[in-house]
Point group: C2
Chain length 313, copies 2
């Protein structure tokens, strides 16, 4: 079976399935449209957490024990930064810094984010296309019990403690979807569009908020397969479940399924979850969705691709 | 004996004597005016090599084996930068990077270089005043056999190979001397002004090129003591001797002494050197000037201070 596959992904959880898909598919068949809503500038450096998580996963550079960042990382920069009185709330590993410094420098000289990411991927031998959703800045902000917060301020500095009331994607209305992302979504012979098990509110929604992307999903000839990040009534990682409570939603795969209604043709939910009630135009598929190792990543990717084949067939 | 001492210093060699003076003097008595002519921007980061060498020496953070940079340094950043195809010619240690990133960030937010340096010194427990010669940019450039080169391009990337014909300090004419530097040079009870054993052409000259500094030395009530960097007919480190050849000067302490004529009241040269011919108004003092360890640094500092006392007495 041939044809391209497009994945929409946030950080760690989404990156794992993207990695699984890259293992399951022919080299170059996978395009991953990545959330840049949590990009931010820290100590003058442009940090792209979700893009880097995807790159690290695909290049086998992720630290699987820590759950984020690079493996074989060292922390001398942070140690000296602490001695100098620099901000400590966001951890920058020494190797990770090379990505941030080089990206920041190239952006300052007029390169686009997507070009920098492409060059990084080429250097690291990544066959998949890693596509920031836009080269224009989109910034996720959250109205919380402590007022409006920038994403990383909420997510890292305050460790998701403030209650979320509303979520905005500053700049999304005027951001231009990356042309390569739109091209990937409309490519001939497209086999599947996969919404990875990322946080629907702050990882997938910002991608869908960029003009043209939701529309491209709705018009696509290929089936759209969504994977739920909720496992056993909670999110394996990150604040998705906590946000559901705060937004008066049931903490369940059903809530995720409803968000993708009219968009996804198949919905894969963890087998530990109660089956969502039937939803029009959406196949509901239970599967093991925990991806602790490469084999589980590959297995879930195969379930996703089989579901797509089933939708098409 | 009390009273302040002011040292003029470039990088490694000068920093060693500055460290010796800091050990010999009461805390806070020493002010060090440091060359910023070899500051440059690398990968978007503001690097101040001489200032950092002085800071590392005073904070006991220098790597004495390597001869530059921090001890206990790690190199993960450079390793990943290489994998990403980033420039490799200038080595940035992981701990060193914290200085560059924090400095660059603070400068971008409107802080002056001297303020950043002061804060670093406060955090690192340095009692001496470390004073960049100016907060305005001065950039040393060299006319060489390969045309005009920026200092680090000549010094690091081409490892001082091109022959030097002329040296310029871009921006020096309009740079304002740091007010604290001029205040240190005119402080009541000043005990000595020390020209450290730094490269006279590219470490000391740029300091003297900043309007007001040479004049302040000439008007100073305290004796000016210069220390030669030439040992056994060559420079212990750096291109001073090679430059002398290329500029048709004799490679000797005498050449250094002549450059400081009318400025220095005493000239300390290494005991391995032939005694310079008598020069008007300048005492010539042989001494051991190699500073391989703290004890030798302290010993040379004491010779310098004794020479000053002798000039005054």
């Amino acid at each position: 079976m041939s044809g391209g596959v497009v994945a929409l992904s946030g950080g760690v959880g989404g990156a794992k399935l993207a990695h699984g898909l890259s293992m399951a598919l022919e080299p170059g068949a996978l395009s991953i449209i990545v959330n840049t809503g949590d990009d931010f500038t820290h100590l003058g450096l442009h940090v792209s957490p979700d893009v880097d998580s995807v790159i690290y996963a695909l290049a086998h550079l992720s630290d699987v024990t820590r759950g984020w960042g690079r493996r074989d990382e060292t922390w001398t920069f942070m140690k000296v930064l602490r001695e100098l009185g620099g901000e400590q709330w966001f951890q920058l590993g020494d190797g990770d810094l090379a990505m941030h410094v080089l990206r920041t420098w190239r952006l300052s000289r007029g390169a686009s984010l997507s070009n920098v990411v492409k060059d990084f991927c080429d250097r690291l031998g990544i066959a998949a296309q890693v596509l920031p959703m836009s080269d224009d800045p989109v910034r996720t902000r959250l109205l919380t019990s402590e007022g409006w917060l920038d994403f990383q301020d909420y997510f890292v500095r305050r460790q998701c403690r403030p209650a979320v009331r509303e979520i905005a994607f500053d700049g999304a209305q005027t951001a231009r979807a990356l042309p390569q992302a739109l091209a990937a979504l409309t490519q001939p012979g497209l086999r599947a569009i996969v919404i990875c098990p990322s946080n629907p509110f702050v990882s997938v929604d910002p991608i869908l908020a960029v003009p043209g992307i939701r529309d491209a999903l709705q018009r696509a000839t290929a089936p759209v397969i969504a994977v739920s990040p909720i496992i056993g009534g909670r999110a394996l990682k990150g604040p998705a479940a906590k946000m559901m409570v705060e937004l008066n939603l049931e903490v369940s795969s059903r809530t995720v399924a409803q968000r993708y209604l009219g968009l996804a043709h198949a919905f894969i939910y963890d087998q530990s979850e109660p089956p969502p009630a039937a939803l029009p135009g959406m196949s509901l598929i239970p599967a093991p969705t925990i991806m602790s190792n490469d084999s589980e990543r590959l297995q879930l990717a195969r379930v996703v691709l089989a579901s797509a084949a089933h939708c098409t067939g």
